[in-house]
């Protein structure tokens, strides 16, 4: 047997094995019997003797069957390996022959899979992962509300809810604040969780070291005890095992550390932004404040079997009761419970899920595109398949080879996709708005890797099926002869593909237009003048401990000394402090009266402006423009005439004809009776963000601020330092300067104004990047889709082109023919896309800035770009069409 025939020998089927063995044995017995007959025996005798000589037929037959079956099985296995190796070889050779196509296919798949991997990581890390509570299904947040919205729980209400033992197995309350820790290295202010004795137990959070509070410690004047977060224990306390029982200086007093929390321990309110490092007792007053301030969060564990409807119904009764007995509560006061998962994650679910749908759609389109490319390929490889079929490979075999090729593409695409996904995730996390919960814990976890691998295999099968089926149908003699083209089935498929490309073009135009609008918005936002200089500014917050800085004078003197001290630091050009840092903190508005104005009419509102306290040097440090008059100086103290500054917005609003300078105003609250003279008007500052117009503001010199019950307003200020060079380099010297004045005053929120501005732009940046990514992907897909369709078209019509060329058409004409066809499709698609762009723009209008949704620049540039992309993708196959050799095509391939 020659090697070629051996190559194509197939393993025999099981039924044949037994039949063959029977035939072998039967022949032997017959011939042996014949031999014995020839020696003179009777036929029956000969037969019997032959059988006797043979031995146990059944046994020998059985042995042969077993031996043969085993041989067949191992042959089959070897065949399968051989076939696989062959397929791999074919697939790799095929990929090498078309490097551009392979690269394009892998790139498209990597894009789709990578995007999905990144987004799925976020979906998993933020939404799907269970919250770090025991049995979160039974936990609910208890919220108060009225017709205007929701608000938190008061101490009085807390006591009342604790009585509802029929509903709640346990209920815990807490709020977040800040405490100063000193004594262990730097004095610092840390975010603190003030929790009652039930708050951590209700969540099922158990300390890894020590214990939580007892009810006895949770009273006003109780033992000063604290728990520390896992992070604080690791970074500031050296992760020592003996830390329980150690003292910690908190707000100037000594407290004892009684426990360390586990690494993932958080309560609702702590899932975004900076995490609490310290836990202190809530110490609720047994006699609650009758003013009924609402500042507590409450979480309860429902009794087994309690339904939300029953609980809400009962709470309706409780609410009615409270409205009767607690005067400050509004009449439409209500109490609701919300499952904790929904409370923490609910508002992000729609946006994140929409993102997931979007990338899912992207992956599907990517698959469709690669399938289209493969189909276009398969058509041009028809001859190759026909030859292999003639050599004995069945249609099943060929289909298997196509699937192997698809799996390789899918596998490589998946690997590349993982890389893209990792990069995309890093990028997404870098720009994600700080408000996204648990985003600090998102990473490429094993779950996500499994997802990525499954996605790539699934996509491989999805886009591999189409060409495999095509090859199955098309293989055989008919394709050698070049028949089977122009069949109705082929035309249907072609229509579907053209429809797909049309949809992609429309979608790409829509997305690109959206991206264009967002880009213009971004540019508008970024070039908006905030009203002060952002570069080279270092800022930090100082909190003077109330105990040692009780008087206004003491506080003012500290900040004055600080300004002088900072002025002496090399590299500092100016320094000043403010009560509300622009772009970071909000100032409250206060009403005021203007001397000499007629009293208010019915329904008229008092003039008002945001109240801001500044130290001398602040406006200089921020380079805020002085429009008229003068800036505050150290001479504006408690002994001199009370003065005040206003900004342009206030001046425009209340002195439209001018004359604000020199006017006298007085705060309309009963606290202040002093008339203050306006000595300066400064330029507008966009305090609430670059996109919001400047608010009306007035500025009090620090030393002349009216005494009023909220003492801390003057003790805690944000200091701004104008640096000659790199602001961050001044961090050390500035800390030193503060320490020289008072070692126990903590610095917090040390950052540059650039960073502050950056944070306000994070949502915009995310919008820009996301839409930009989708728009770009859309364009890539359009290019691939158009290329696939046109390539297929060209190969289909090769004969037609040959005829035309033979009949005298010039090559330029063929080129124009193919290009024209493409452009026509593109124009229709673009028109549809423009419609979609207007719709999308309308939807986006509320979030655009300085751009109309039907922006002419965007709407003219985008279609042009898409048309260019389509033309570029068509050029390759069009040139190939123009270079058709009429001789070859007319001969029939």
């Amino acid at each position: 047997m020659g090697p070629l025939r051996r190559l194509f020998r197939l393993a025999p089927r099981p039924e044949t094995i037994v039949a063959d063995i029977d035939e072998e044995i039967t022949l032997h017995l017959e011939l042996r019997a014949a031999e014995l007959e020839a020696q003179g025996r009777s036929p029956a005798d000969a037969r019997a003797e032959a059988e006797r000589l043979f031995g146990e037929v059944r046994t020998h037959r059985g042995s042969c069957v077993t031996i043969d079956q085993e041989r067949i099985t191992s042959m089959r296995r070897a065949d399968a390996f051989d076939a696989l190796r062959q397929d791999l070889g074919f697939a790799l050779r095929a990929s090498r022959r078309r490097p551009l196509f392979t690269a394009a296919a892998i790139a498209i798949l990597a894009l789709g899979i990578g995007a999905n991997t990144a987004v799925f990581s976020i979906v998993h890390g933020v939404l799907l992962r269970p919250l770090p509570f025991e049995e979160p299904g039974r936990l609910v947040m208890v919220r108060n509300g009225d017709s205007r919205g929701e608000f938190q729980v008061s101490e009085l209400e807390r006591m009342r809810y604790r009585q509802e033992t029929g509903l709640f197995e346990r209920i815990g309350t807490w709020y977040f604040g800040t405490l100063t820790i000193s004594g262990t290295g730097d004095t610092e202010r840390v975010r603190t969780l003030f929790a009652d004795a039930d708050a951590l137990p209700v969540a099922g959070i158990r300390p890894v070291l020590g214990r939580t509070f007892t009810p006895e410690e949770d009273v006003p004047g109780g033992e000063p005890v604290v728990l520390v977060s896992h992070n604080y224990w690791r970074t500031r306390l050296g992760a020592r095992q003996d830390v329980v029982g150690q003292p910690l200086t908190v707000d100037g007093a000594t407290a004892t550390i009684i426990g360390v929390l586990p690494p993932d321990a958080r309560l609702p309110g702590d899932f975004t932004g900076a995490r609490a490092e310290l836990v202190a007792p809530l110490s609720p007053d047994p006699v609650p404040d009758p003013r009924n301030f609402h500042f507590l969060s409450a979480m309860a564990r429902l009794r087994p079997g309690a339904t939300l409807e029953a609980v809400n119904a009962r709470l309706g009764v409780v609410a009615r009761e409270l409205v009767e007995t607690v005067p400050p509560l509004p009449d439409d006061f209500r109490i609701t419970v919300v499952p904790v998962t929904q409370a923490v994650l609910g508002q992000y679910r729609p946006a994140v899920l929409m993102l997931l749908w979007a990338v899912g759609l992207l992956l599907l389109l990517a698959c469709a595109n690669v399938a289209g490319l493969l189909l276009a390929q398969a058509e041009s490889r028809r001859r190759e398949f026909a030859v292999r079929a003639a050599l004995g490979a069945g249609p099943g075999r060929l289909a298997r080879q196509m699937v192997t090729e698809s799996l390789i593409l899918g596998g490589l695409g998946g690997l590349a996709g993982l890389l893209v996904g990792y990069g995309a995730l890093r990028g997404l996390l870098a720009v994600s708005p700080p408000g996204l919960p648990r985003v600090d814990q998102v990473s490429l976890e094993p779950v996500v890797l499994v997802f990525a691998v499954s996605a790539s295999l699934l996509t491989a099968l999805l886009f591999g099926l189409a060409p495999a089926a095509a090859v199955r149908r098309g293989s055989g003699v008919s394709s050698l002869r070049g028949e089977g083209r122009g069949s109705t089935v082929g035309r249907e498929r072609h229509l579907v593909r053209r429809g797909l490309v049309f949809a992609e073009i429309a979608l790409a135009v829509t997305l690109a237009a959206g991206a264009g609008l967002v880009v213009r918005t971004w540019l508008n936002v970024v070039k908006t003048d905030p009203g002060f200089e952002v570069e080279r500014r270092l800022t930090f917050q100082l909190s003077l401990p109330a105990a040692r800085y009780e008087t206004r004078e003491a506080r003012w003197q500290f900040y004055q000394a600080l300004t002088i001290e900072l002025g002496g630091v090399p590299g500092v050009r100016a320094a000043g402090a403010v009560s509300a840092l622009p772009l970071a903190q909000e100032a409250g508005d206060w009403g005021f009266l203007i001397e000499g104005r007629p009293p208010l009419r019915e329904g008229e509102r008092n003039p008002f402006a945001d109240r801001i306290v500044v130290t001398p040097g602040y406006f200089e440090a921020m380079r805020v423009r002085l429009v008229e008059g003068r800036l505050p100086t150290p001479a504006d103290d408690a002994t001199r005439e009370p003065v005040i500054l206003i900004n342009e917005a206030t001046a425009r609003r209340y002195w439209p004809e001018g004359g604000a300078l020199g006017a006298r105003i007085r705060l309309s609250s009963n606290v202040d009776t002093v008339w203050r003279r306006v000595v300066g008007i400064v330029g507008d500052v966009r305090s609430r963000g670059l996109e919001e117009a400047a608010r009306q503001e007035f500025y009090f010199p620090h030393a002349q601020y009216p005494t009023n019950p909220s003492q801390n307003a003057m003790g805690t200020l944000s200091v701004v330092v104008h640096a000659a060079g790199d602001p961050e380099a001044l961090t050390g010297p500035v800390r030193e300067a503060v320490r020289r004045l008072d070692a126990d005053v903590p610095l917090s929120q040390v950052r540059t104004m650039d960073a502050v501005l950056d944070t306000t732009l994070s949502v915009r940046r995310l919008q820009l990047l996301l839409l930009g990514f989708f728009a770009l992907s859309g364009l890539v897909l359009v290019a691939a889709g158009v290329y696939g369709v046109v390539a297929f078209l060209v190969s289909e019509r090769a004969r037609e082109f040959g005829v035309r060329l033979a009949l005298g058409a010039d090559r330029g004409g063929i080129l124009r023919l193919v290009l024209g066809d493409s452009v026509r499709l593109a124009v229709i698609g673009v028109t549809a896309g423009l419609g979609g762009a207007l719709v999308l723009g309308r939807l986006l209008q509320s979030v655009l800035f300085g751009v109309r949704f039907a922006d002419p620049v965007v709407l003219s540039v985008v279609p042009l770009v898409v048309l260019v992309v389509v033309t570029a993708a068509t050029v390759g196959p069009a040139l190939r069409a123009a270079r058709t050799d009429p001789g070859m095509t007319l001969k029939g391939e």
Binding site: I21, I25, F54, G55, S63, D68, R71
Partner: protein, 110 residues
């Protein structure tokens, strides 16, 4: 004539040797062995077939269906190259062994 029992493990050598003379089907192999040994070996004739199938599984013989001169369908076995090598090896080993045994038996007391 008296027959000797077939020694364990020597059937393979017999079959390989038989086939070294050319392709044969099962009955022909049996005939050849009987003729060559003068029917001196007591072999259960059916045992040939499992042995042949085993040789095929090991790749020392190949099988192909053909026609006898009476136009009967028969499974012809043929030595592969590996089978030829194996035959040579086993024959050499056997001869050597037989020689050693002979020396032992004929040796006088020392």
């Amino acid at each position: 004539m008296t027959q000797v029992d077939l020694l364990q493990g020597t059937l393979d050598l017999l079959l390989l040797k038989a086939l070294s003379w050319g392709p044969m089907h099962g009955y022909e192999i049996n005939r050849w062995i009987r003729d060559t040994t003068g029917e001196a070996l007591a072999i259960e004739e059916g045992a040939l077939y499992p042995a042949l199938h085993r040789l095929e599984a090991r790749g020392w013989v190949e099988a192909e269906w053909g026609l006898t001169d009476r136009n009967r369908r028969a499974k012809y076995y043929r030595l592969t190259r590996a089978g030829r090598d194996q035959c040579r090896r086993e024959a050499t080993a056997w001869t050597r062994y037989a020689g050693v045994m002979a020396r032992v038996i004929e040796a006088g007391r020392a």
